[in-house]
């Protein structure tokens, strides 16, 4: 073996076989190997439902009350604009259709979660009845009314996505 060959072999022997990449590759690998989180859309649906339930409940409560000093919209106009009863019914139907697409286990988990959320919502409404003149809560009702429209769009979209996945 020549001197050059010996030096080459020594140099080869001296090369590290293990080289750490310049950056952490794990996050991208993890993102590619992890399955999509099952039910994330369902929990968004549940959260949307809670917001809508609170919003509708607050609006219903707000409309059922005597006129107060702070009133963002005329009550009649508000009720007519949002057509709350029809909206609630439509939303329930939409949610029922989406829930029907779930697996039994997911459906049971969602129903249980929704029951808990609805109970919490009712507790909030009950507390509001104790302090009906709270201007901050009225503002919340108005804010929720605006949010309601956005949530309805979200529920419809999620339902559509679930239908497409299945």
């Amino acid at each position: 073996m020549t001197d050059a060959e010996q030096r080459l072999d020594q140099a080869i022997e001296g090369l590290p076989r293990s080289v750490r990449p310049g950056r952490d590759l794990w996050p991208e690998i993890e993102a590619r190997i992890m399955p999509p989180v099952r039910g994330s859309g369902y929990w968004a649906l549940a959260a949307g439902w809670l917001l809508t339930a609170v919003g509708i409940g607050l609006l219903g409560w707000r409309l059922s009350m005597a006129p107060v000093e702070v009133s963002p919209w005329p009550d009649g106009a508000l009720a007519a604009e949002f057509n709350l009863d029809a909206t609630r019914l439509e939303l329930r139907n939409e949610l029922d259709r989406a829930v029907a697409l779930l697996s039994p286990a997911d459906r049971a988990a969602l129903v249980a979660e929704l029951d808990g959320l609805r109970a919490a919502s009712e507790a909030v409404l009950a507390a509001l009845r104790e302090a009906p003149a709270d201007a901050l809560l009225q503002e919340l009702a108005a804010s929720n009314a605006r949010r309601e429209l956005a949530v309805m769009r979200q529920v419809t979209q999620l339902s559509h996505e679930i239908s497409q996945r299945t």
């Binding site: 050059a4 080459l8 140099a11 080289v19 990449p21 991208e28 690998i29």
Partner: protein, 183 residues
């Protein structure tokens, strides 16, 4: 108190593999942490491109994860990962359809007799400058312990061709050392 993750503990590779097969992502991360250096090193030497090496390293672990159930344990995890990495790189190389350097071609001879005067003896750089096929053969043979039949099977070439490419690579690298010694 910080929770020590599974991949940070001294869990044995076999146990990590078993847990990873059962869907434990922390266990798979343990395998990643244990082997990413070797896999990246192989990819870096094969591609001579850090960015491509990162991509192939990621692809290797993604494919390994998808095929965990198929790994029978006939070879070591390291060898298995190396084969996946080599396959990933070669699939891409075939897609690009590189020219296989014919040992009888004038280009082969020219490379063998290449004037390397003035080149620095930087083995990593020199390996990176080898013709792609010769580089693949050399890296697998000299650095990662593949046999010529294994290389031939992986690259889809004859064993004799693998040996010729290895010889070419050694000649070029040896020439660099010869020139450096003469300087």
């Amino acid at each position: 108190m910080r929770v020590r993750r599974l991949w940070q503990t001294q869990t044995k590779p076999v146990e990590l593999l078993q847990a990873a097969r059962q869907g434990d992502s922390e266990a798979f991360r343990g395998l990643y942490e244990a082997h990413v250096g070797q896999v990246y090193g192989l990819c870096l030497r094969m591609t001579a491109d850090p960015v491509e090496a990162e991509e192939f390293t990621q692809a290797t672990f993604v494919k390994a994860h998808a095929n965990l159930a198929k790994f029978r344990g006939d070879s070591s995890i390291k060898t298995w990962l190396h084969r996946i990495a080599v396959n990933e790189i070669l699939m891409e190389a075939r897609r690009k359809r590189p020219e296989l350097l014919d040992p009888d071609s004038p280009e082969f001879t020219r490379l063998q007799q290449a004037d390397t005067h003035g080149l620095r003896v930087d083995l990593e750089q020199a390996i990176g400058e080898l013709p792609e096929r010769a580089r693949h053969v050399f890296v697998l043979r000299a650095l990662y312990g593949f046999t010529h039949p294994e290389i031939a099977a992986a690259l889809g070439i004859a064993v004799g061709t693998a040996k010729a490419q290895y010889h070419l690579a050694r000649q070029r690298l040896k020439a660099l050392f010869t020139e450096a010694a003469d300087d």
